[in-house]
């Protein structure tokens, strides 16, 4: 029998190694997650984080492992995914796996089990009651019958947590959260943090994987940092500063970004005039050659819509988009493209890369017309272009044949940005360019953006990251309810200024409150 106050750790791993062919991806990993604690597992892309998660969740069988215990109980090997679930492991990925059209209750019961009534039919009353109980645990005050499609992003995360808790909290020993916030705007992340706090208070151990260091300092009790499959740091969160942590993860000191020389010129390249549609109400602004302009605002402010309108992906009711004085017809991406606009969308996984194609094919797809002779695509010139771009964007691995899915998120994003370089765009619009991207890749992407601006490109960055906007941009436009309400530049462009805008300006407006209610 255990002594009452010596609770076994939720997870204990000793000497876990994983070898893929000649590559040692994970080298004798030791990891302990205490009950009721949040343990952050950090590392750059390719450091062995994902492999660790896959071993814990039962997806990968490690090449060797000395001990593997959940809540003090030895896990038999090989452990399958189902087996680990039965033993009290719950994994939540960024792809939440919710069915939009179904209700909260249906989504939760689908993954687990429905409460059954006479003859095996679903007893909806009891199912709803059990679901309501799980929702209470995570602090989501929504009726179980509400369709998931109507929920905000953080509420969806809460639903997935509730799904993990459904059927009894005592059955959940360890919750693995794998980059769940990387696609969320900053303001929603705070709500997710609250939910995690609640889960942890119920006594489960939480293994937290993320690229956002602010979250780590907000929520984690312990930190483990991996590099090249080895643990290079382990300790309590209070023992380390953010700067030290960044350096550990990136493997080198990241120089604080030099404030850009204002390259603002007289010539306006991109100009937006009174654009109105379902999400925007009279947005007007201009971006000059060589200028980097950011747009920020709370979720639902229409930030992404601006980018989609400029590239012709969304229709408008009135207003004009023009490049170098030339009006561009709305709703026709190919016309926007021909006018010199390049666009990098937000959802890289589903809509950025061409999955099933190689790195080379992804890099050259935007510039094929320039690689032909009499209509024949010249493979040699295509290859040269791909090699050049791989070097310039520092894509790792530097292998044009690598299927694009095998690249890390950061490197995929380098490709998605880099493929526009040969077109020499006049306007570059980026929506959340470094979402879910590690520190090193983020710097590489910033360098690419700066380079484009230096060549006279007008750059528009739509982002929810305050830090990104202050380091990258010459000017930042603050958006409220589809309207530009404020502009920050020069000395007034600070983290504090943006934060106070987000907090004060938005919550005081009556219109925004009305919209949120509807």
């Amino acid at each position: 029998m255990h002594v009452a106050d010596v609770r076994p750790p939720a997870l204990r791993i000793r000497g876990a190694s994983m070898r893929f062919g000649p590559r040692l991806v994970l080298d004798a990993l030791d990891l302990e997650v205490e009950q009721g604690q949040v343990h952050a597992l950090l590392g750059a892309n390719g450091s062995g984080k994902s492999t660790s998660v896959k071993i814990i969740s039962g997806n990968h069988e490690p090449t060797s492992i000395e001990r593997f215990e959940l809540s003090g109980e030895q896990v038999p090997r090989p452990a399958g995914v189902q087996d680990m679930q039965a033993r009290g492991l719950r994994t939540v990925h960024q792809e939440l796996g919710l069915v939009e059209e179904l209700s909260i209750a249906e989504n939760i019961a689908l993954g687990r089990h429905y409460q059954r009534g006479v003859g095996g039919r679903i007893d909806w009353r009891r199912t709803r009651a059990a679901v309501a109980e799980a929702l209470e645990l995570v602090g989501l005050h929504r009726a179980p019958g509400v369709p998931v499609a109507r929920l905000a992003a953080w509420e969806r995360v809460a639903v997935v947590f509730a799904r993990a808790m459904y059927g009894g909290l005592d059955q959940v020993k360890l919750l693995v959260l794998d980059e769940i916030t990387s696609a969320l705007p900053a303001e929603e992340v705070a709500r997710v943090m609250e939910v995690i706090g609640r889960v942890k208070n119920h006594g489960a151990g939480v293994l937290y994987i993320t690229h956002r260091f602010e979250e780590v300092f907000e929520i984690a009790d312990m930190i483990t940092v991996l590099r090249d499959g080895k643990i290079i740091h382990h300790g309590e969160t209070s023992e380390i500063t953010p700067a030290e942590l960044v350096e550990l993860v990136a493997g080198q000191a990241i120089e604080p970004h030099a404030p850009r020389e204002a390259t603002r010129t007289e010539s306006v390249v991109l100009s937006i005039d009174k654009i109105t549609n379902s999400r925007l109400s009279g947005v007007s602004f201009a971006v000059g050659a060589g200028e980097i302009v950011g747009v920020i605002g709370r979720a639902g402010c229409g930030r992404s819509a601006i980018g989609r309108v400029i590239f012709g992906l969304e229709s408008i009711r009135s207003g004009t988009v023009s490049v170098a004085g030339q009006g561009i017809p709305a709703g026709k991406p190919w016309r926007s493209l021909a006018a010199g606009i390049a666009y990098v969308g937000q959802d890289r996984r589903r809509a950025g890369t061409i999955s099933g194609a190689s790195t080379e094919e992804n890099l050259t797809i935007g510039a094929l017309s320039g690689l032909t002779r009499f209509g024949w695509l010249l493979r040699r010139r295509e290859g040269e272009l791909a090699d050049t771009l791989i070097t310039r964007c520092n894509v790792v691995p530097p292998d044009p044949r690598a299927p694009i899915e095998t690249l890390s998120g950061g490197n995929q994003q380098k490709v998605v940005v880099g493929r526009w370089i040969p077109r020499e765009p006049k306007v570059l619009v980026l929506d959340e360019p470094t979402e879910g991207v590690d520190v090193g890749a983020r710097q590489a992407i910033y360098a690419l953006i700066h380079e484009q601006a230096a060549h006279g490109c007008a750059v528009l960055v739509l982002s929810s990251s305050i830090e990104e906007l202050t380091t990258l941009c010459d000017r930042v436009l603050c958006l409220v309810d589809g309207e530009v309400s404020d502009e920050l530049s020069g000395g007034s462009l600070t983290v504090q200024a943006i934060e106070s805008f987000l907090l004060l300006r938005v919550s005081s407006g009556n219109t925004s409150a009305q919209k949120a209610a509807s």
Binding site: K230, H233, A357, S358, L368, S369, P397
Partner: protein, 350 residues
């Protein structure tokens, strides 16, 4: 316990291009595609099966199988299938099905027979009308699918059914054999340099397809649309137009196949379409398991048609009853696609 080790704060590992890498890049460029799915033995397994089969039949049926006459028959009689397989390919590449190709072929053959046999329109004009109608059917398919948003599966099966009804109306259930122009039959049944005319024709069209779909920006864009339609849109491609174009090409090619079918057989009746559909679409899928593994590709499709043709011919020469043919067709398709799936899954794991 856990050591906060003082690892050398090294730079991110640079795996520079080495000699072996360079060689691999070159070979990649010659064949295209992404590397994990393109090991040589997976790329050429189907070709190997084809060669082994041909060798076996040449031994077991040494007097009947490896003869010029037999090859003229085998290739000639499969030219229509080849044309129809090529017809179904463009929509497959850009991510859609065209299940109307068989019915389109049938209606084209029927229409040509009616125009020339009953209405005595000159062959040239009749062919022009037939091809125009075929392309129009493709355009209708494309509009239904890209502008209205019906799934290609449903739209083309529906359109196909309508086409088969029209064929039935035009033939009134009879076999059309009267007044089919001799010049068409001569062309479809003659040889040039020992090879049937229609084989030459199918070969030339296959080369045109190979260039268009694998060596031009147009082909690469179609492929991108098939792989990731949303990415293609974000790249500023005219996705709807390119998909519609694929259906127009498909319709036109089906009509060409119908014209050749009429000339080769010398008669047509309603109901021939469906028997061409499965072998044609199957050839596309079987072709995707070879040459450029995991992608619909022209060379693979051609090889697939030849594989099935040789297999069936060899079996028939060995006195295997005719019900074996569809069984062989289906089995080859399922086995080839199934094994390539398994190989791909294993490649993912390592």
């Amino acid at each position: 316990m856990n050591q906060p080790s003082l690892d050398v704060p090294g730079q991110p590992r640079q795996t520079g291009p080495e000699a072996a890498d360079e060689r691999a890049r070159l070979s990649y460029r010659l064949r295209g595609g992404a590397k994990t799915t393109n090991r040589w033995w997976t790329r050429y397994a189907v070709v190997l099966v084809l060669i082994v089969m041909a060798v076996i039949f040449s031994i077991t049926n040494s007097t009947t199988f490896p003869t010029v006459a037999n090859f003229q028959i085998v290739f000639g009689s499969n030219s229509v299938t080849m044309l129809l397989a090529l017809a179904s390919l463009p929509p497959l590449i850009s991510g859609d099905f065209d299940l109307s190709v068989g019915y389109n072929l049938e209606l084209s053959a029927v229409l040509l027979a009616v125009l020339t046999g009953e209405h005595h329109i000159s062959l040239g004009l009749a062919i022009l009308i037939t091809l125009g109608l075929g392309a129009l059917v493709g355009l209708v398919n494309g509009i239904l699918i890209t502008r209205i948003g019906i799934s290609s599966f449903i739209a083309t099966i529906g359109v196909g059914s309508v086409l088969s009804g029209i064929s039935l109306y035009l033939t009134n259930g009879n076999v059309l054999i009267q007044g089919i122009p001799h010049s068409l039959e001569t062309f479809a049944q003659d040889n040039a340099a020992g090879v049937p005319d229609i084989v030459w024709m199918a070969a030339i069209i296959a080369v045109v397809f190979w260039i268009a779909f694998e060596h031009t920006p147009y082909g690469r864009r179609s492929l991108a649309i098939g792989l990731s339609p949303r990415s293609a849109q974000l790249l500023g491609m005219r996705v709807a137009n390119l998909r519609t174009t694929a259906f127009v090409i498909s319709g036109l090619m089906s009509a060409i196949a119908g014209v050749i079918e009429l000339g080769y057989v010398g008669s047509v009746s309603s109901g021939v379409g469906p028997s061409f559909l499965l072998p044609a679409v199957a050839a596309g899928f079987l072709g995707a398991t070879t040459i450029k593994v995991g992608r619909f590709n022209v060379v693979g499709t051609v090889i697939a048609v030849i594989l099935v043709a040789i297999g069936v011919s060899g079996l028939e020469l060995n006195g295997v009853p005719n019900w074996v043919e569809p069984v062989f067709d289906g089995a080859v398709l399922v086995i080839a696609v199934g094994s390539s799936r398994l190989i791909a899954r294993r490649a993912e794991r390592t």
